[in-house]
Symmetry: C2
Subunit: 468 residues, 2 copies
Amino acid sequence: MTDTFLSDLRAALGSAHVITDPERLLAVTRESRGRWQGEALALLRPGSTEEVAACVKICAAHGVAITPQGGNTGLVGGGVPFGGVVLSLARLNRIREIDPLNSTLTVEAGCTLAEVQTAAAEAGRLFPLSLASEGSCTIGGNLSTNAGGTAVLRYGNTRELTLGIEAVLPDGQILNALSALRKDNTGYALKDLLIGAEGTLGIITACVVKLFPAPLSRATAFAGLKTPEAALATFDILRRRAGEHLVAFEYLERFGIEIVTTHLPGARDPLSEPHPAYALIELTSADPEADLDARLEEALGEAMEEGLVDDAVLASSESQRTALWSLRENMSEMQKHEGASIKHDISVPVSRVAEFITRGKALCEALLPGLRPCPFGHFGDGNLHFNLTRPKDMSDAAFLALYPQFNQRVHDLTAEMNGSISAEHGIGIAKRDELPRYKDPVALQLCATLKRALDPQNIMNPGKVLQL
Amino acid sequence: MTDTFLSDLRAALGSAHVITDPERLLAVTRESRGRWQGEALALLRPGSTEEVAACVKICAAHGVAITPQGGNTGLVGGGVPFGGVVLSLARLNRIREIDPLNSTLTVEAGCTLAEVQTAAAEAGRLFPLSLASEGSCTIGGNLSTNAGGTAVLRYGNTRELTLGIEAVLPDGQILNALSALRKDNTGYALKDLLIGAEGTLGIITACVVKLFPAPLSRATAFAGLKTPEAALATFDILRRRAGEHLVAFEYLERFGIEIVTTHLPGARDPLSEPHPAYALIELTSADPEADLDARLEEALGEAMEEGLVDDAVLASSESQRTALWSLRENMSEMQKHEGASIKHDISVPVSRVAEFITRGKALCEALLPGLRPCPFGHFGDGNLHFNLTRPKDMSDAAFLALYPQFNQRVHDLTAEMNGSISAEHGIGIAKRDELPRYKDPVALQLCATLKRALDPQNIMNPGKVLQL
């Protein structure tokens, strides 16, 4: 079987693009942090949508599993193959079209997010999706995981940023839904279904994304607060007073600031006194003359008068702004210096995010005295990276052995608050077996029905998202 | 069969809510404009989600078709039954929950859109969906048709305004996807799939919708222009200069203004000279002190300097604002006084909307000299109600006999420009048989696969959207 299979693929793609060299396979079968090591027969590097379709048809004819892969930067093992082939979208990396008057960009799946951002910026527009891995993750992977990031509060998730897709379905047919339309009510929401399906329903090969006016004014503040509850009340004031300008309301805690200021060269606490909690707030406007600093000061003034914010600083230069954001952006990386962490990517209704922090920390500290909770993240979206650093005097291994227990407590609390156990990272294999505990059984069954209808052979990224 | 069927239904709902009286059936089997007259065995009025589920189970057991119905205000016959039962959501009319801090509202499908707007306003928030029929259309119908309206430019379509749904699936199971989360990547986009499915994949019984800060400042202008191309260039200036404040950019033409000023008591042309084309522009802000009039004046000033806008007036009072909007809102209604119209609800990329108007009018006028085109609509979304009024001296009947010919020319042009033949009204039965001519065959086949997988008996609003 394998021989005909590989020779068919070589005939379709050219031998150079059907890679079976074990060294090269190692790189694409390993999860980036080494958490999962998969295996694959071959790495396929098609150069066009038609070649992707040819690969899928050959795999379908031979019943061989396909794991689509973008930048291999996912955090839930969604791109790790367990047998079959890895299909890399890397060679589909053209910016196909930019239409400034329509505020859209048509790009192929293998473009990195940074390349998409740059293409938008060169046309004087903004593509607002922004993630830590933007230099290496691909837009195809962003769509497949419905990526979130730091500007969701203002611009929405990847699904909301996407107008149309082109995809290869599990039978090898090419779906042309590359609509660049703001409104199109002709049939079911096919693009929404494939976005966020983590490659289990087909392979997204290109997309049309929305662009926005480039922000020409910006104001950034860092505020010290006593409690997460004060952060929530401050968020409400900001949303009311800054309305359409509020793009980020990120949350951090004292322990997180200490980690970053201790381990990141040059990082320093922007406030003179320590505070239990912090908010990093940003406003932007397309109007170059918008006085956003004044607006932000007024909102923070109201929060101070109400006793919510104890101290705050506004960035008065680009380097100060970068320094403030660097505290947030390096949180996850700097945490490593303090030993192992147990991580969660949860969301709850925004109205309950403060309660979640308070109760979640108490719950976890009760399970393990000396635990150092490090919750941070997209507070304004109700999305927290609810990370837990091990006690100072505990071994990484002993701490990580508690992963399932912490997961269950944190996720049970999330579910009790009508939250999600995966706000932005997806399910992949990491959370697949936990999902049935938390997801509505009818919803899960409907997902399985859809999967079976679109991919009856179960060859598209099998074993991810759903256990069939 | 029918006897057991009806007695099962009466046992489930109570006799008062299983209506077979021909008079009452007439009202719910007729399309509101009388364009279609269907028929039904009974009208079911369940009072809860569980009762909806009971109805669907009984219908599924007997193989009886179900046409879900909200306010029966749809424009494509999607709510007209052709046999089977009509299931009215009218008694599911509770506002279940308002969560101001989460900026969400949980409502049942049978609430009118106006009731939802009012509940949001009473909490000091905005639910931005707004349509001509808002007093009688229901939120369930809005979701089922992915309704558009006048604020899509700023806030998105109904799908983007909805965070979660509760629905009864074609097998009678209740899907609980009533998420109130901004971020949730746990499985496929089930709510997006059911939204816009026109009741063919299940019955939406409740939803969680997003609220926004109430707009406390507003500026409205009416501008006279020479051409649709000038309108497009003006739109680009507005989008750049007003950015996040731009909520509406509606297009009208001289003939439309003449119709309304002639037939609507009290209506008058806001500009002293006639102009070939007009734009109705609105900015809003949550900031009560935002000087939007100044901003709008500056943007219009730039458009005048560039020779795009020939004259413009800003509303200086609420009554002036209402008068300007009334010209737009009464367009469709006042058109009736000039005789029969052939209507289209198309969208194209915004960059091509001016070209569409110019070419579309020329095309139609060539087909029928004396034709009076009346294009108007959501120019900023690329969505036009491309209406055609009959020549002055032609009979309605003779003109309407040309419906298919005009449809085909207008829709062929739409397709040539990568547009949609249904921007916001949906497919229903009105456009079902035209859809295969314009939709990607793989997309259409995928829709059919989904329909068969979810509704193998084809009992949910059969014959709508797809011809199976």
